[in-house]
Subunit: 395 residues, 4 copies
């Protein structure tokens, strides 16, 4: 059927065929899906001999026709197949699901990662930023979308509709999501925002049931306390930085008095990192016997110095915000004392500060020199702590 | 700036850059635009040596990393540039306009047609059928869109708002257009439909001011009497066959009693073709001395037998509808006696019949064997006319 | 301020005044509200002497001017006051709330019921049926409205959002509500519908978590299993019969195969009625020692024979449906075994059948002769039961 | 049928009956309509004897039941009939049309004006200000509504769609209309606004084809240059003052820099008034031999001093704006040189100034003392002109 689709001349019959393939695919077993991907990987691969010939022909003629042939030869046929599969109504969602399947198979079948590159190439084009639509999520949003917000929340789980209401209904709360026009009931990514008077030092305070609700126009600080990607099948197609930037713009337009844009972020890989270390402080933190002061010091040190093999920050959330041009503002111990928070980071959280005047500069320095921007107060706190540590060690 | 955009790491700054480039482009003179396209064509061309090397590396390793490098090398950098330019809000429209500019330069600078292939490649992906939205155009449509319908109508010009109202307001008229979500106020293509009792034999009757309006549910025939592409910059990205198919579906759902779907189409290239012929009938038609019977016979003959060098029907409208699986139903002389109608085809028009039971078969025969499907009555009329002609000659 | 509003000439300043009065009212204590109502009742009463004079003047002159004066004199000034209070945006909702307050005071201050007649008169005009908007409530409805559905459900309480989802999301469930354009987020009345294969004999089956969901087009029966009025302040302004009629129309249009429209209704006043009776069966039912057969017999007898002083059915739900032209189809014991169901009716429920062919006739007979329409099967079951009862007694 | 409707108990059957009556009414001839209105006027009149009895009964008992009876007796049965007629969908529009018919008959059948009082009473309740919806009219408005704007424009006729576009599309133009939710495609009243740098002195300049379009945020003055009531059947139910007030609020919110709100208004009854005068200046103006200076002086004098029998300003437009709290800012000769403008006022127009700080005060003085507020510059100009006139006379 796939080959028939690639051969189809008529577009209308092509759409029928595409629909039939997607329906058939949806019913395949995992094993059959693997066979399907193997077919894409092998049978619809680039024809290297043909490509080489096309390169040479075009190198000599430089003609438009030969350029067209080169373009065709340079692309694996599976890309054209996926494009044709994308024609029926609802197909995009099905293809995102197809990639979800593919991703889950990559570990056992790493050779399929070539297909994934093609998927990424096409999805990046279809989910072009210019096509994304920012929508406010609030208590007037349809329940069918709200239940997806509950489902997709990846940072601080939403326990109940009452919990959801507390995050969406009060005048000092905001939530925004990106949607794609062909998947209008599927959020791609969303951010939850608290409007506050001060930069918060714990998620417990932000989400407290009995906190005093503020009038939005009386607040100073917008806190991005949860950012969740929703579609596994769009992994690697990043929307996050754009979302933050556009939400900052929206908020500034609605509430010009807001002066500070800051996150309250988890440090999700702190504990795994410490497990690989071999020093006293790490051990105390792992065993839950560290003081709050120690936790803060270790977490700060981790954010500044823990690196991947490629030299990037080890922590994925740090990598994301620092890469966007934010700077480390402060690290707080006992900031997320949920089970999950304790397991990830001993309860520590961090504020990344989006200082509009410094974003460009921070971003550039980070990209070029790997320099991590930090607030003066953070540097000072960190130095003191280091000094104490030195002193402790030397004593 | 374009090179900077290609080098940009941060997506937010990339969008600013893209916006700036598009704004700068919009103000360029024609000469400067040519220079810009030359730059795309030469400086952002595929690097053939690098591509050849990537082919060989991948041929040996078959590794994912080398496949990625091959994919990158196989694509001219201008494609990535255009993708990045497409990120700001409103950019798609600007790029469609950019291609409009490009198309207008191709005649004088044919080398730029390589860029055009890249444009087509990307536009086909962005204007994927799955992304198109069908909307009914009627008297409740915003004036800002209606004035574009007036502007873009390419077959039977709309003279005034009253003329437009006559085509949209009555209960026996329909109009549908495709839109793309990021250009919600720009129709891509639209079709005007008259609901009638019989297959019409002239556009004058269809558009008559004083005709009797029918109740939609009392009609039998849906006549597609005008199909107009709206965006020059989307030339070659065809939406027409899909539009017809989907409008047929819409109409059948709304009005299940409709039994016949037919066009009343111009024969736009008849006169140019006759100018290249050298027989008596052609001359008489060109000189306006042909009888209605002769015009009908010559037009029928033209539709059946006039071919391009590649063997396709010479007439573009015939090519379109026959390729979609329609069949020639009847040719009518004096069917469009407007100045334009007389100049194009001596006033002749043709009905193409979309017989739902035969579309697939017609389409397949046309694609495979170039066979032109015709209605029995048409064949009969044509044979008689040929017989007369033969007789006329032999006498 | 109220007198000032009645005297106000300018409409703009009148609206300011009205707004101020409504805001002031909203902050009054219960005692102050009583004083306000006393003022309406006494100071803004009809001037009987003036009215009598106006009647006589007009009786003689029959002039338009005197008719105008008569109209003015015939109306208590509080009606004009309420009309003027209704001018600001949001005022209608405030006045509905004001009547809610008033209703709660009527028991202790029955003289205020004159004001209530004026309220009813105006609300009936403002909530004219022609102004009501029927909207489908489903899982795409905003959460802000859904939480009101949860709050206002008066028959079978909605326990949680999951419970709500079970009533709205499945393909064989429907919910419709009336809204008024000036209170777009306040349902006035809503009905929950289950689409089933057979007429159901218990609410447990209808609401079971693990029931098999049907495709809507495969169902035969539409069961109205819950109808809730939402606005206390609109008591006596009935929307229910119209709602049922319009929902039947909607469902027949969407699902033409539906053949039966029936309720599954509570019998809310059965137990209170039995408490006033003095026979063995009643006592057994009250003490929970009756058999299911006895419960069914007693409930049937109650529905047919228990009357108010005015001769209407004693049961308000019966009064409503029989008045609309429905007929009693069947009585089911153990049909609502919730605490509430047992307390109201020993667990019995009843189907009222909206037989489209008989509604007019049933309605007329009920209105004219108080005749209660019943299904043949119900009559038969009832006769058997009576026969047994007679036999029991005589033995 | 009307009596049947009044007797109908069931609301659903009542709606059918109401629908049938309205459909029957719509097909009546003028003579039959007159008969229908006579029936309303005579047969459904207040029963004076019953009313007198009800007054006396209630005067003695002061009981709620007797109050209810009084309320019923005090209202002519035709009011209840009209309320019941208003129940079907679309009925309100039909009743507005019914009143249009009635108004056209009042001259020949003045006795029917009693019915008209009842119509007014009900329409005022149904078209309560709280129910009105303000909508912006612009080039994105559906054509079906725009063609009504063209039709209903009562001050400066809209010649063509191009003319309409010039009034709606440019960034320095605004148009707003009130709608009622049950007649969503029928504007009730609309105002056209020009945003300018200065207070304009002629309509020619405001509507000039070739004027320079301004950016809205660069303007200072909002000019209400045309206000049109749309529904004859709503005569006497005034929306104008509220519309102006709300549009001022809208504009101030969108464009806070706007400092001046002013009209450019016709003086529609100047010439008819002058025809009743007997002085030299009036004669010269009527004969078209007056100078521009004279026209200005006579028009100013007319606005200040011409009164109705009741002492109100003779000019209806003056009455409207002065009653709303505006003041006379300036009178301009040669300000509307269209045929209509010359016929009404010799070409003169006037600016009424809505000075937000003075509206309340102006309104109050006008209502209480009939005082006409004027701008200092207007008073000065007028005094000079009077002085010249005096001098002219005394010389």
């Amino acid at each position: 059927m796939c080959l028939a689709l690639l051969d189809a001349e008529g577009e209308v019959s092509g759409i029928h065929l595409a629909k039939a393939i997607l329906e058939r695919y949806a019913k395949l077993s995992a094993g059959e899906k693997l066979t399907f991907f193997d077919f894409l990987n092998e049978a619809l691969e680039v024809d290297l001999l043909a490509l080489e010939a096309a390169v040479q022909t075009y190198a000599q003629s430089r003609s438009t026709n030969d350029y067209r042939d080169l373009s065709v030869a340079a692309e694996p046929r599976r890309q054209e197949l996926l494009r044709r599969l994308n024609q029926p109504t609802g197909a995009t969602r099905a293809l995102v699901q197809m990639r979800t399947d593919l991703l889950s198979m990559l570990r056992d079948a790493p050779a399929l990662s070539r297909i994934d590159l093609d998927f990424q190439h096409l999805l990046r084009s279809w989910f072009n930023r210019g096509f994304l639509v920012l929508r406010r999520i609030n208590w007037d949003t349809p329940a069918s979308i709200l239940e997806k917000i509950v489902e997709y929340e990846a940072v601080h789980a939403i326990e109940s509709w009452n919990d959801l209401r507390r995050r969406l209904y009060p005048t000092d709360r905001r939530c925004f999501a990106y949607f794609h026009p062909v998947m209008p009931d599927e959020p791609l990514i969303f951010v939850e925002v608290a409007l506050t008077l001060d930069i918060p030092d714990s998620i417990q305070k932000v989400l407290a049931d009995d906190r005093a609700v503020l009038e939005a126009q009386d607040t100073n600080v917008a806190v991005f306390y949860s950012i969740s990607n929703c579609q596994t099948g769009l992994k690697g197609i990043s929307f996050g930085n754009l979302l933050i930037k556009q939400v900052v713009d929206e908020l500034r337009q609605e509430l010009p008095q807001l002066s500070t844009f800051v996150t309250l972020s988890p440090i999700p890989r702190l504990m795994p990192w410490l497990e690989q270390q071999d020093d006293e402080a790490s051990r105390r933190l792992l065993h839950g016997t560290a003081t709050q002061e120690e936790i803060q010091a270790v977490a700060s040190d981790y954010l500044l110095n823990a690196k991947t093999a490629r030299g990037d920050p080890f922590d994925p959330v740090a990598r994301f915000h620092l890469g966007n041009g934010a700077q480390i503002h402060a690290v707080h111990p006992a900031a997320d004392i949920s089970e999950n928070g304790l397991r990830q980071s001993g309860g520590a959280m961090v504020n990344y500060h989006y200082d509009l005047a410094l974003i460009e500069r921070n971003h550039e320095r980070f990209v070029q020199d790997g320099e991590i921007s930090t607030a003066p107060s953070f540097r000072e706190a960190n130095q003191k702590s280091n000094a104490r540590k030195q002193k402790g060690r030397s004593s």
